[in-house]
Symmetry: C2
Subunit: 97 residues, 2 copies
């Protein structure tokens, strides 16, 4: 299992619109092969800052299966204009026994 993680910085005054869009977009990503779970977390200490955490079965399910899909174009259209700067996405694996 792989965690996709990104810190999202939302343009000022657009947080409400972003959350509305995200609540639509989550159904797009949730329909993809290898998708396990998604969470969107709001930072308490930093304004307009969110943490996106998506669990995938494999790295390829995210990087190829999702990012090369038509559904990714819908996700992008719904969400990418809210970000400033554009987020860096990283992948993680659990190491706890």
């Amino acid at each position: 299992m792989i965690f996709e993680q990104a810190e999202l910085h939302i343009k000022p005054n657009l947080e409400k619109d972003f959350l509305t869009a995200f609540n639509k977009a989550k159904f797009i990503i949730a329909s993809m092969k290898g998708f396990i779970n998604i969470d969107l977390l709001k930072c308490i200490e930093k304004e307009n800052t969110y943490l996106l955490l998506v669990k995938w079965e494999t790295l390829n399910d995210h990087e190829i299966g999702f990012r090369k899909s038509d559904q990714y174009q819908e996700w992008k259209q719904l969400l990418h204009h809210f970000y400033e700067p554009f987020p860096k996405v990283y992948h993680y694996e659990s190491v706890l026994k």
Copy 2:
């Protein structure tokens, strides 16, 4: 529910020792009031980089209950010397419906 999150940068060549220490330290934090869950994730793209995610019932369970406790001194002694630079810790709340 609150997520404590920190990006951990482990000094070179100490990752194995860090993981051994972490597998002891997790039992310390897991015994605290308000603790729900812990995960330690290793970054695929960035060397020596981990993500610590701890779920707490409330912010005070982490910031006061744990950080002002004797157990925190044990946690600190086991782990803090592995970090360079010292991590910034943030707190997050889930916003998904």
